[in-house]
């Protein structure tokens, strides 16, 4: 049983939620829970450490290599820390035709960082991402934190800086 693991950080904190996740899938298909468990693992710090990947492997009856490959393949999983808030701006075709690229450049300039970088205080990372299914409301971005994801549509640089300012005040 995974409870015996030396590194049972997840199990200790979220045992009920883990059981709920596992209950969605047939008893012999625990591997299906890998992605949901990775989201759970990212809740605290926004990224997944090796020991936690090992724990997820144990819970789901897979190898740590399998879990690490999932982290590598899917773009919403991280194996290193970023800003507390990851601002992910869509710059695909339709958004780019509605000013998304200029938006992201200007936003980064205001924050004094490059695209893909994190502000000095560790609060915000700005990234360009692929289509977010909000093409009619560009410029738009999603904010990814450990808690989940939320959309911010029809944005301007001013609006976004206001939002960041509020985060900074409330931290």
């Amino acid at each position: 049983m995974w409870i015996d693991s030396e590194n049972d950080m997840l199990t200790e904190k979220y045992s009920e939620e883990i059981l709920k996740i596992l209950a969605k899938y047939p008893a012999d298909q625990k591997r299906s829970a890998v992605m949901a468990l990775l989201f759970l693992a990212q809740r605290e710090t926004g990224y997944v450490t090796r020991p936690v990947m090992g724990e997820i492997a144990e819970i789901t009856g897979t190898l740590i290599t399998d879990v690490a490959s999932i982290v590598g393949f899917y773009s919403l999983f991280y194996d290193e820390p970023g800003g507390k808030y990851r601002i992910q701006v869509c710059t695909d075709v339709s958004c780019a035709m509605r000013g998304a690229e200029a938006f992201v450049e200007e936003l980064c300039e205001n924050l004094g960082i490059g695209v893909g970088e994190t502000t000095e205080d560790g609060l915000v990372t700005v990234e360009k991402v692929m289509c977010l299914a909000g093409c009619d409301k560009a410029p738009l971005f999603q904010v990814q934190t450990g808690e989940g994801l939320e959309y911010h549509e029809n944005q301007t640089v001013e609006k976004t800086l206001d939002l960041i300012h509020r985060w900074r005040r409330n931290r």
């Binding site: 591997r31 299906s32 829970a33 989201f39 999983f77 339709s94 035709m97 289509c131 299914a133």
Partner: protein
């Protein structure tokens, strides 16, 4: 204007609340199916309606269900809510604002193929929508529409959400199934197709959100009623996601067969900033580029007529391009997307999209000669029909039709062979 069939929240406030949905005829279709029809009869009604898959392929839904292997059990239904095609944002609106009609559709499909468990595969970005759906599924269960002994019969059904984590390829149905199994989202070799070998190796139906959302009304009102919308071969309404250089981008629910002109000019308010229309991508980034001449604008948007323009209707994500946009820039963007999203399993797609990305970047930067455009075209041609799944095949559509149909844009960028010196991006000398 006739009332909405799919985007019903635009007519009926609070239809995202269970009691309001029920007051508006909710679950009549599902109840009728479970209480008074055999599963095969449900499939027959859907076949007779002529409903075709709204995710892109346009495959007849009832026929897909009829392929389910009845010698292997259990059966599964999976709703494809991965919606990641650049230019597509319709399923999101349905799930956010008219969720019960979609969930009832999942239930009807499940009953028709004898599935007791259904999974909704949502792209990870739809985290909040998944949470809302979880609440709504719990409400349905509470009200007796899910769980054991539904409507007092022996039919039992559970619906679960499953979140992806940012991978366009998981919209491909076999990659989606791999992803639910907790593996990398890479397509399987087909055949066998999911109705024979699907989730956990069991017969599985994969249907798009919009397709499923049609089912409650088809069951409630009948196949003939459904056929009163759209065209003979493309019955029903379709949600067209309109984006790009138009004044009013957004989702427009219109009968299949509505001409491009009506969508772009009447509904979309025409081209912004006084520009002229230049090209149309009717199926998002996966689309071929159509020259937006009078003939194209008068072409009905359905599964039969769009191919006459050398393109496909796909998921009906209509991206409008005006004369301020250069096509070499546009294909740089689409190729960048496909290169990023290629799953890496098959060589033609993995390598092809990589080289196309480098070539389109060089061409757009003006660091290329006409031979590079030719090379780009050759790389694309060599990928054609050789990729494991549609992602690779889609990645070349805009490239090849872009060069074929908008040659001048490329000539302008690279000049002619005589006047342009080829620059090697890696060489400092």
């Amino acid at each position: 204007m006739s009332p909405y069939l799919l985007l019903r929240h635009r007519d009926i406030p609070d239809i995202d609340k269970l009691e309001v949905y029920c007051q508006q005829g909710g679950f009549i279709g599902f109840k009728k199916a479970v209480v008074s029809m055999q599963p095969e009869q449900v499939t027959e009604v859907v076949k007779a309606s002529g409903l075709r898959g709204r995710g892109g392929a346009g495959f007849p839904t009832g026929l897909k269900w009829a392929f389910m292997d009845n010698n292997a059990w259990p059966h599964y239904v999976t709703a494809n809510a991965d919606e990641s095609e650049p230019g597509t944002f319709k399923d999101r609106e349905i799930m956010e604002y008219n969720p019960f009609q979609f969930l009832e559709g999942v239930a009807i499909a499940s009953y028709a193929v004898g599935a007791n468990v259904a999974y909704i595969y949502l792209r990870g970005e739809f985290w909040q929508i998944a949470r809302q759906l979880d609440w709504r599924i719990a409400e349905m269960k509470e009200a007796g529409y899910l769980g054991e002994k539904i409507f007092g019969t022996d039919y039992a059904l559970e619906i679960y959400t499953h979140l992806g984590a940012g991978a366009y390829i998981c919209g491909e149905e076999t990659a989606l199934l791999e992803s639910i199994e907790g593996k990398l989202g890479q397509p399987r070799l087909r055949p066998p197709f999911p109705p024979v070998y699907g989730l956990y190796g069991k017969p599985t139906v994969v249907n798009n959100v919009e397709t499923l959302t049609n089912l409650p009304l088809i069951l409630e009102r009948g196949a003939e009623w459904f056929r009163s919308y759209g065209t003979e071969k493309s019955p029903g309404v379709k949600i067209f996601s309109l984006s790009g250089c138009v004044n009013r981008p957004g989702n427009y629910e219109l009968p299949l067969g509505t001409p491009f002109r009506q969508l772009i000019y009447e509904h979309g308010g025409g081209i912004r900033d006084g520009h002229a229309i230049k090209a149309i991508m009717p199926a998002g980034a996966s689309s071929a580029l159509i020259i937006a001449d009078e003939k194209a604008l008068d072409t009905p948007m359905d599964y039969e007529n769009v191919p006459s323009l050398g393109a496909q209707l796909g998921s009906a994500s209509v991206i409008v391009i005006d004369d301020s946009i250069s096509i070499d820039w546009l294909i740089k963007k689409t190729v960048h997307f496909f290169c990023h999203e290629s799953c890496g399993k098959c060589t033609p797609c993995r390598e092809g999209t990589f080289w196309m990305k480098h070539l389109t970047e060089r061409i757009h930067a003006g660091q290329a000669a006409w031979e590079d455009v030719q090379l780009l075209y050759d790389v694309a041609s060599q990928m054609k029909t050789k990729c494991l799944c549609a992602l690779g095949e889609f990645s070349i559509e805009a490239v090849m039709t872009g060069i074929d149909r908008f040659k001048d844009d490329f000539i302008e960028r690279v000049g002619t062979e005589q006047t342009n010196i080829r620059i090697d991006a890696n060489s400092k000398e």
